[in-house]
Symmetry: none
Subunit: 201 residues, 2 copies
């Protein structure tokens, strides 16, 4: 399994070769031309347009990791959003680099432990606040009604919900009627909007 390190000339770091026998240093141009599905690619965040490169390579099926001289949670998220599966310090120890490679190769995500809390915290505040609200919204419902509401919120039809919960379509409608009444919405459309917290006009 070769590991490609995408960087400009002066950025070569001995630890990279120490970490992987088959480490190869390439320019962004070479990476675009060569890297493909299954390759492990490391992209330096000091390259111009590194996010585009990450997106491109990730779309091709490469396992992309981003290395930075000044790691931050913000940059980590940008990397992840571009399709990277790993993010870390460019001067990480060889053992850590190998660990990142192992994790990302197995569909995992790797972020420095000290950034993890911030990254996840940010995500949680964004969606977590909503889910809190979702719990509130659903708390007035019975178990059965909640199950129906969640299934409907996934876009399922009455028939599909009926199959999933092993009840008749009529019963699904009965639960839905109760849900609409309790939540004060007029149909499943508004229910979805309520549960995904978007502006219901």
């Amino acid at each position: 399994m070769t590991e490609l390190f995408v960087c400009q000339g002066p950025d070569e770091i001995p630890r990279w070769r120490a970490a992987f026998d088959e480490a190869r240093l390439v320019t962004p141009q070479q990476a675009r031309a060569q890297a493909g599905s299954g390759d492990g690619v490391w992209v330096m965040s000091n390259l111009a347009g590194w996010q585009g490169l990450v997106s491109l390579l990730a779309a091709r099926g490469a396992t992309v990791k981003v290395l930075s001289y000044m790691p931050s949670s913000r940059e980590a998220l940008r990397a992840m959003n571009a399709g990277a599966r790993g993010y870390g310090h460019a001067l990480s120890a060889p053992e850590l680099l190998r660990q990142m490679a192992l994790v990302t190769r197995h569909q995992g995500i790797w972020v420095p432990p000290e950034l993890l809390a911030q990254v996840m915290g940010g995500a949680y505040r964004a969606l977590g606040g909503e889910s809190q609200h979702q719990d509130e919204t659903l708390s007035g419902l019975t178990d059965r009604e909640r199950a129906v509401a969640l299934a409907v919120a996934e876009g399922q039809s009455n028939k599909e919900v009926a199959r999933r919960l092993e009840i008749t379509e009529r019963t699904v409608k009965a639960h839905l009627g109760a849900i609409f009444r309790k939540l004060g919405v007029r149909d499943r459309l508004q229910l979805i909007l309520r549960l995904s917290q978007r502006e219901a006009v």
Copy 2:
């Protein structure tokens, strides 16, 4: 390396034992008493107070993974925020479970690929990044189709959209038909879920 599965009695799943020779099923009480540093623990999200349990075990140094019958990006974020390092479907294949264990044991994070984009997307937008996804989704539509799609995404009925755009209901349907075909969705429900890119599992 033993793997502890925390669940209520009837939730035992044969795949767990198939995945790990040393799998052990325990109750939440037993987990609190036994699990410690270095242990691999799997917590079912249908347990009452599972987030508290995850926090406790994670603080003790256990590697906690959360399993759910209805995975969602929100629940994944809740799990991560509580200190879990992995999140997945309770009925995942044994091989997938082993992969999750491998990744999390090496300081990685594991989230189902289909949820990854949502989780990261949410985190990214939370920290001030731009959301481009919706524009991408709508870019293949004509002006009129886009207007209809956005109105429908607000939960408006065909009749309401018709009034807003000053066209007949039939024309709204015509545009909607084209939208469904272009975006590959089957109805307005799925369209809404696509445009708000949430839970659609």
